[in-house]
């Protein structure tokens, strides 16, 4: 009961409501614009959150996350380009349905299923995050090391890219985290005599560089691209018949999305692809998929929004990001001095339940905004890149500079922008770099402290049951892409 009251706290705070309102609105705009999305948008807004108290800052980021994930569907349906990667599966049926003159119906279903998926996942978050946090009390340094390794091996199965390339990117992210003074001995590593590097490489220059700047370079290669935009008259609520056809799919995808979201390093993109394929597998009319099936839209959208709450579970309970955007939220927590983990649940329940409540309200808000404002948001896609991206550059540069008032940070951002572009060009996802960077300190710190506890005996790791379980899960995570590849070949 107390927790429920804590969840309702954002409703009674005009400041938090205002933050939620702007966060949801901003998230929708970001989601609608192809190439931006909640991860890049979250990274751009991160420096601004320094002016807010920690709860408002995280509420802002989570509302951007929820609304941005939904916003991608608007672009997917109207211009056949996913506003966010998580909306890629929505294109498959959303656009064909829009071509048939039913854009309003397609967006109506996307809005309803996204809202249901999002609310379902917040319920999962409220129940499972405290349980997971309770379990984490059993964790010592070796268990945290094994857990972090599990989180990193899950990178192997992110998206559809090469598992080994994802692991290389993850290892590179950890390597970046070793730059600067060694936290145990204060010995300089990879500083090359540059004073600014002794404090290490900050999260924000890397995140903004890898997401926003690399996207700017990607957009520079697409300036002649022409979108076939379908006009939207008005969004329509699904009919009784649509609900009859899709309620099972929405519930199933909500469950799938929440589960996939809970897995470390996985996120909305994987969730929506699995949600979509499961919707097709269970459908009575699988032949309609890809030609404008309403079930396809429901399956993909419920799953990707359900992944938002799911992804917050390991992020808040263990400090292991559940997705790329939660990695940005985790960065937000860290720069505001909040250390996620079991202690957070015991010491700051008002903070945590405030976030849960805010996520719930954000899901309702984006339903209202989406339903009444989809037509206006659709017009945002008309802002030409030649105007939009120079503006994003100005915000990125000032935002990155603002954190430490360091011009070196701006150059680091540009360096990672160029690096991120080439990584993406050659099939290396940039998400593992961020997750590696965030988990790097945890991996190295817990490894070294464990070895101190074990007196340098590596084999002692295998005498700890929880650690051993995570190592076995890591092996399964590494083997999974190989099994999947063999299945596809067959």
């Amino acid at each position: 009961m107390d927790n429920l009251l804590l969840m309702m706290a954002p409703l009674f705070s005009s400041k938090l409501l205002l933050v939620l309102f702007f966060g949801t609105l901003f998230g929708l705009i970001l989601g609608v614009l192809p190439g931006l999305g909640p991860t890049t948008g979250g990274a751009l807004i991160l420096p601004f959150t320094m002016t807010l108290d920690p709860l408002s800052a995280i509420v802002l980021l989570t509302s951007i996350y929820c609304a941005g994930t939904y916003g991608g569907a608007i672009t997917a349906v109207l211009i056949n380009t996913p506003g966010t990667p998580a909306a890629a599966a929505t294109c498959l049926d959303g656009y064909p349905l829009a071509q048939k003159g039913e854009a309003g119906r397609a967006l109506g279903m996307a809005t309803v299923s996204s809202t249901v998926g999002g609310i379902f996942s917040v319920i999962i978050l409220v129940f499972f995050a405290p349980i997971l946090a309770q379990l984490a009390y059993e964790f010592g340094q070796p268990e945290y090391f094994a857990l972090a390794i599990f989180g990193l091996t899950m990178l192997a199965s992110i998206g559809e890219g090469s598992p080994i390339k994802n692991l290389i990117a993850g290892a590179f992210g950890i390597l970046i985290s070793t730059v600067g003074k060694d936290f145990m001995t204060s010995i300089d590593r990879f500083t090359f005599g540059i004073n600014e590097l002794t404090e290490g490489i900050g999260f924000i220059p890397v995140v903004v560089g890898l997401f926003a700047m690399s996207e700017m370079l990607t957009q520079s290669t697409l300036i002649n691209q022409v979108f076939n935009r379908i006009a939207l008259k008005a969004i329509k609520l699904p009919t009784k018949d649509d609900y009859k056809k899709t309620w099972k799919t929405i519930l199933r995808s909500s469950g799938i999305g929440s589960f996939i979201g809970v897995l470390p390093a996985e996120g909305g993109t994987v969730a929506s692809l699995i949600g979509y394929s499961e919707a097709k597998r269970f459908s009575k009319k699988p032949e309609e998929f890809g030609k404008g099936s309403i079930e396809g839209i429901a399956g993909a959208e419920a799953a990707n929004n359900a992944a938002t709450g799911g992804a917050m579970v390991p992020t808040l309970a263990l400090g292991i990001p559940g997705s790329a955007t939660t990695a940005v939220i985790l960065t937000g927590l860290i720069i505001h001095g909040v250390r996620p983990g079991p202690d957070l649940f015991r010491e700051q329940p008002d903070f945590l339940y405030g976030i849960f409540g805010a996520m719930l309200i954000a899901n309702v808000l984006f339903f209202i905004f989406g339903f009444f404002g989809a037509k206006i948001f659709a017009r945002i896609t008309l802002v030409p890149n030649k105007i939009l991206w120079p503006m994003i550059f100005a915000v990125s540069v000032c935002g990155t500079y603002s954190l430490n008032q360091s011009i070196i940070d701006v150059w680091i951002m540009l360096f990672f922008g160029v690096l991120g572009f080439f990584m993406r060009r050659y099939g290396f996802s940039v998400v593992p770099v961020i997750i590696g960077l965030i988990l790097g300190e945890l991996v190295e710190g817990t490894l070294r402290q464990s070895l101190v506890i074990f007196d340098g005996n590596w084999l002692m790791f295998f005498t700890r049951p929880i650690a051993l379980t995570f190592f076995v899960l890591s092996l399964i995570a590494l083997a999974f892409p190989l099994i999947r590849a063999k299945k596809i070949k067959k």
């Binding site: 590179f172 990879f190 700017m216 520079s220 030649k386 105007i387 050659y426």
Partner: protein, 168 residues
């Protein structure tokens, strides 16, 4: 599907040092080896103070792991070549050049001027020829961002020919 196969065949017909998989693997391995050599220059903690492993051990292990995995992707690519990427357009190189110009101007003249110059340069080469819009992205918007950061976030931008006038 046919196009991908065609591209793969085309990639296979190139000498190995022109193929993307070789170039990418070479750059990763070369950089990793250079960094690995650097780790041997890290200070060593005396045994009496050392708890657990030396500070250089962890980065060394990571770099070796990266090299091994890169060799593995190269080996796999010899069996299944990567598809050839489209040539990068002129607009990409101009955007890259604008990053370089930004660094030079922000270092030598002024941070604000550098943002302004890049915005106008990029917008123009991406196809915007209307003066009003160029002024919007190159001057009006950067001024709004500058004032926002300066007044609301209390940020002090680095000294330069324009920022000095503003601050004086």
């Amino acid at each position: 599907m046919k196009n991908v196969q065609k591209q793969k065949r085309a990639n296979k017909s190139l000498p190995f040092f022109f193929r993307d998989e070789f170039k990418v693997s070479f750059v990763i391995i070369f950089t990793s080896v250079a960094l690995l050599i650097t780790t041997f220059t890290f200070d060593i903690v005396p045994p009496i103070l050392n708890r657990g492993i030396q500070p250089a051990t962890f980065p060394k292990a990571l770099l070796v792991l990266i090299i091994v995995m890169t060799l593995l992707i190269y080996y796999l690519a010899t069996k299944n070549p990567w598809k050839i990427q489209k040539k990068l357009p002129k607009s990409f190189f101009l955007t890259l050049l604008s990053f370089f110009i930004f660094v030079v101007i922000s270092k030598t003249l002024d941070f604000f001027l550098a943002i302004s110059a890049l915005s106008i340069f990029v917008s123009y080469y991406w196809g915007e020829k209307r003066i009003l819009y160029l002024l919007l992205v190159g001057i009006i918007f950067p001024v709004i961002v500058f004032v926002f950061f300066e007044t609301i976030l209390g940020l002090r931008f680095p000294p330069g020919i324009i920022t000095n006038i503003y601050y004086s």
